[in-house]
């Protein structure tokens, strides 16, 4: 993608706008390249998938965890996530939560940041409990 989106937590509108910006920038660089190759490599489907995936992945990103909460609890968030993911229901919740934020929550509450912070802290607390349980069982 020629142009890189700045900041965290993109929106669907942002992704769509970004697809066209990126496509334009990349196709402009491909003067003299066969039309088939351009269409094969630089197309809305691939760019849309990559950019949407990028947006989605931010909700599982250690750096985003660190910035949203504090660096000290990043391992605990992962521990909590991995432990929760063993339960199919919670796995579904974890996987759908970013979609809930991107598609719904940020439209209702533009400043959804504190909610996300609480979400991560709760997971970290669960991670801490898991960690302590493992230590005690040993």
């Amino acid at each position: 993608m020629g142009v890189v989106a700045q900041g965290f937590f993109c929106s669907t509108e942002g992704i769509i706008q970004h697809i066209f910006q990126s496509l334009l920038a990349d196709i402009t660089n491909d003067v003299g390249v066969s039309f088939i190759i351009i269409r094969f490599l630089h197309n809305k489907l691939i760019y849309g998938l990559i950019l949407s995936f990028r947006c989605y992945l931010q909700f599982f990103d250690p750096y985003v965890f660190a910035v949203t909460t504090t660096s000290f609890i990043v391992p605990l968030i992962y521990m909590g996530l991995f432990k929760l993911a063993k339960n199919k229901f919670f796995l579904l919740v974890i996987l759908l939560f970013p979609l809930f934020i991107i598609l719904l929550l940020r439209r209702i509450i533009p400043d959804f940041y504190p909610i996300l912070k609480i979400y991560y802290i709760l997971i970290a607390l669960y991670g801490l409990l898991t960690f302590l349980a493992i230590r005690i069982n040993r």
Partner: protein, 494 residues
């Protein structure tokens, strides 16, 4: 190993070689200042036995106010002996290190999974096509050579050749600065994890040899010269805590370090955007392929394995970003390059678990698509968007100035280009001539660096090289263009 496996390994080695050597002189476009410095110092050693500053076979090479480590420069001397003084020769050692790393990843993994070579070959294959490895194999990056020494060191250690292993690991100290942290920690870890079968006598001998070999480096490291680079990029020096209470300040330092550290595991950094520095990535794609994410998660189970490989991979994951996290800027793909080894092997482990045929076919198709996409970006887009990072234009500039140099008393290069003298040396100067001129106090002959036209005073027959946006009172003789046809330099007669 059967003939079929050997053929596959040979195919991977050839692929790795092609990906690293094809159009190596031309892409990346130009040479960046450190490459030119390495290239010239290596050539100078080859021709005169002295470096740019006249030191006889030095162990540390002064360059741009800092000191470079010797191994890459001496190896470049050998490649320049074979290929001549050119871009290909400067990058050749790094490219070969990339290919050799591909081979040794295979042998390392095969030490533990020798019943089926599928996992070893997959690890080797993934490393060979990994954008992270290709990027740094195609530039004169000492870090890529360090990575090879680290891999070879681990391989030898695993095979019980502890003395050879420590000799190779000692070499990494003399190759790239990040080894101070990464290799030091790795040696401690190897000792901690080592097999008990290795005799105490052998351990002591290996440790003794290691210490003897790194004594010069240790002395250099604590000297003011050795600390120059470390201090200039040190994160803690540039970081200003918000709080004045000492305990809270320490807390802030640790928080900042951890934040830097976790940036190297950022999914955006690894899989989507990569390192935004033009020399460290293609900007449009990540350091690994996006399709590898599920296999990375699935492959993480190797870290829990009781085998030595699982433990060493886990430790490599932990220590690889430390050198990058204590320095700035962050995240830094070059200083954390060692991460590519455990990540390649973990993804390969995840891939090796696939059982269903149609999923295998799907993965192959997606992998081929993204490899083609990456190569297209690398060869078509990358040169046009990062030429400024790679010193494009200097070769054309000095080849043009060669036409004029005897007609003018002075050729002045604008002070906006303080490192441009190294390109003059690399492209247009023989070391013997340069050393003789230094003795006479002439340094660069009629070339003058680091001034602008206002400070020159009145000189007859003056040639002036300005930036693209400067307008100088004089006659414009020629424009020098970048690869995208924008003006890089203007040559004026004043």
């Amino acid at each position: 190993m059967s003939k079929g496996w050997w053929l596959l390994l040979i195919f991977i080695i050839v692929l790795s070689g092609v990906l690293r050597l094809y159009k190596l002189s031309d892409i990346p476009v130009g040479l960046y200042a450190d490459e030119a410095s390495i290239g010239y110092n290596a050539y100078s050693i080859l021709k005169t036995g002295r470096d740019e500053h006249g030191f006889f076979f030095p162990l540390w090479f002064r360059a741009f106010g800092e000191y470079k480590l010797p191994v890459y420069i001496y190896l470049t001397g050998i490649s320049e002996y074979v290929f001549g003084k050119n871009e290909f020769a400067v990058r050749f050692s790094s490219a070969v290190a990339g290919v050799l790393s591909t081979i040794f990843i295979f042998f390392l993994v095969d030490c533990f999974f020798s019943k089926s070579h599928k996992f070893s070959l997959l690890s080797s294959f993934l490393f060979s096509i990994m954008p992270w490895s290709i990027q740094f194999s195609r530039g004169g990056f000492e870090a890529n050579l360090m990575l090879f020494f680290i891999l070879l060191g681990i391989y030898l250690f695993v095979n019980g050749r502890i003395i050879s292993s420590f000799i190779v690991l000692a070499l990494s100290f003399y190759t790239y600065n990040a080894a101070r942290i990464i290799t030091s920690l790795l040696i401690l870890i190897l000792f901690f994890l080592k097999e008990r079968s290795i005799s105490i006598k052998k351990n002591i001998v290996a440790l003794f040899i290691l210490i003897i070999l790194i004594i010069p480096f240790l002395i250099f490291s604590i000297s003011s010269e050795g600390l120059t680079r470390a201090l200039s990029v040190n994160y803690f020096y540039s970081f200003t805590p918000k709080n004045s209470i000492s305990l809270v300040r320490y807390f802030e330092y640790v928080e900042g370090f951890l934040r830097n550290y976790f940036q190297h595991f950022s999914l955006d950094f690894l899989f989507i955007s990569g390192d935004q520095h033009g020399r460290h990535g293609v900007r449009a794609l990540g350091l690994l392929y996006i399709w590898q994410i599920p296999f990375l998660i699935s492959g993480l189970s190797i870290l829990k394995s009781e085998k030595f490989l699982g433990k060493i991979l886990a430790w490599l994951l932990i220590i690889a970003p430390i050198a990058a996290a204590v320095s700035t800027p962050n995240p830094h793909a070059l200083r954390s390059l060692v991460l590519v080894v455990p990540l390649s092997i973990i993804v390969a482990y995840g891939l090796a678990k696939i059982r269903l045929f149609f999923i295998k076919i799907g993965v192959v198709l997606i992998a081929v698509y993204f490899l083609v996409f990456y190569l297209h970006i690398y060869y078509r887009h990358y040169p046009k968007i990062t030429y400024l990072d790679w010193g494009d234009g200097y070769k054309k500039l000095y080849s043009s100035l060669a036409k004029y140099k005897d007609k003018y008393t002075k050729i002045v290069i604008n002070k906006e280009y303080p490192q441009s003298y190294i390109y003059l040396l690399f492209y247009a100067y023989e070391p013997e001539r340069y050393h003789n001129q230094i003795k006479r106090g002439e340094i660069f002959g009629n070339y003058v660096f680091g001034v602008n036209e206002q400070t020159l005073g009145k000189i007859d027959k003056l040639l002036y090289v300005s930036g693209p946006n400067d307008n100088v009172e004089g006659r414009l003789l020629e424009n020098i263009y970048f690869i995208d046809n924008n003006i890089a330099f203007k040559i004026w007669e004043l």
